[in-house]
C-alpha cells in the first residue's frame, strides 16, 4: 500500500513540480534583471519593487544561518541541568505498577531505580 516504488501518478507530480519550479525561476530572473521601463512598455506595471529581488534571498540565507544557531541553543536549553531529578526518573517511571513475579518466566520490563543499578554495576566484590 505505502511503498516508495515509482507510480504513474508520482511521475506526473514530479514533472509538474519540475515545470513549475523552472517557470518560477525564469519568472524571478525576468523580474530581477529586465529594466522597469521595458516591463512597463509591455503593460506589466503591477510588480513588487526590485529591491525585494535581492532582499528576499538575503533574508532567507540569514534566517537559515540563525536557524542553525537557534536549534543548537534550543537543544542546550532543553537539556536537563545536572541537579534536576529528570536525569534520574520521570512521570512514567514514578507511576509504573509492579507485575507479580512468576516462576520460570522472563521478568516484566520495568524501570530499575538508580540505586539498584549503581549497586549492580559498581559494587560486586568478586
Amino acid at each position: 500500500e505505502n511503498s516508495p516504488a515509482p507510480l504513474p501518478e508520482r511521475a506526473i507530480y514530479g514533472f509538474a513540480l519540475f515545470l513549475g519550479s523552472w517557470f518560477g525561476f525564469i519568472l524571478y530572473l525576468i523580474w530581477a534583471y529586465i529594466p522597469e521601463t521595458w516591463l512597463f512598455s509591455l503593460g506589466l506595471t503591477y510588480w513588487p519593487q526590485k529591491y525585494w529581488a535581492v532582499a528576499l534571498p538575503t533574508y532567507l540565507l540569514v534566517a537559515i544561518g540563525i536557524g542553525y544557531i537557534l536549534l543548537f541553543g534550543i537543544n542546550m536549553m532543553s537539556t536537563a541541568p545536572l541537579n534536576s531529578t529528570h536525569t534520574i526518573t520521570d512521570n512514567y517511571a514514578k507511576k509504573q505498577q509492579q507485575k507479580k513475579y512468576q516462576e520460570e518466566a522472563i521478568p516484566a520490563l520495568r524501570d530499575i531505580p538508580i540505586s539498584e543499578v549503581n549497586r549492580m554495576f559498581f559494587l560486586p566484590e568478586k
Binding site: T87, I114, F122
Partner: protein, 187 residues
C-alpha cells in the same frame, strides 16, 4: 591516609586523598589542578595586546590603565569565586554528609546535609555541554514518598573526576552508608 592520581573529565590531573577518621567517619578530598602560569600569562598578554591595539587606534591613554585595572580585578574575582582548589566530602555515618569547596583565594564554602535527608549517593550520567559525563550525586529523600527523590545534589563539579575515581568515591561512601542502614536493625 592515601593519595592517588587520577584524571578529570577534560584530561587535567587531579588527586584523590582518602582519610579514615574513625569506623564511621571518612573524608574524601579531590584536589583540582592548580592555575597554570602559562595560561595566566597568555590571557594577560592577549588582554594587554588588545588594549594596546585600542590605544594605537584611539590615542587615549586611559585604555591602557583601564586594561591593567580590569586584569587585576578580573584575576581577583576569578581566584575568589571561580577557581576551586579542593573539593572534599566528609561522610559521618549517623550524622550526615558535609560538602566543602575551597577556592584558590582561601575562601571555603560548606554545605551540610543531615543523614535523614540522604536517600543515597549514586553515580549518575547526564549530558553536559555536548558531552556525556559521569558525576557523583547525593539523592535527597522526598518527605512524602519513601521511594521518591526530591532533589539531586551534584558533587565535585569543578574537578569532574572520571569514572575510575568516581567508583572509588562511590565505594567509600557506600561502606559508610550501609553501616547506617544495618546498625539500627542490629540494635
Amino acid at each position: 591516609m592515601e593519595e592517588r592520581q587520577y584524571r578529570s573529565a577534560s584530561g587535567a590531573p587531579i588527586a584523590l586523598r582518602r582519610r579514615q577518621h574513625s569506623a564511621s567517619c571518612r573524608e574524601l578530598a579531590v584536589r583540582c589542578p592548580r592555575l597554570q602560569l602559562r595560561s595566566l600569562s597568555a590571557v594577560t598578554s592577549t588582554v594587554w595586546l588588545a588594549a594596546y591595539g585600542l590605544f594605537a587606534l584611539s590615542e587615549n591613554s586611559m585604555v591602557l590603565s583601564a586594561a591593567i585595572f580590569i586584569t587585576l580585578v578580573g584575576l581577583i574575582i576569578y581566584l575568589h569565586f571561580v577557581k576551586v582548589d579542593q573539593e572534599s566530602l566528609l561522610v559521618i555515618g549517623s550524622l550526615g554528609i558535609q560538602v566543602t569547596s575551597s577556592y584558590a583565594s582561601g575562601k571555603e564554602s560548606t554545605t551540610f546535609i543531615e543523614m535523614s535527608q540522604v536517600k543515597d549517593v549514586v553515580i549518575n550520567e547526564a549530558i553536559h555541554m555536548q558531552k556525556v559525563i559521569y558525576y557523583l550525586c547525593i539523592l535527597l529523600q522526598d518527605p512524602g514518598d519513601p521511594q521518591g527523590v526530591s532533589e539531586v545534589v551534584p558533587l565535585f563539579q569543578s574537578s569532574k573526576p572520571r569514572l575510575d575515581c568516581l567508583i572509588e568515591l562511590y565505594k567509600s561512601c557506600q561502606e559508610i552508608l550501609e553501616q547506617g542502614r544495618t546498625d539500627p536493625q542490629v540494635e
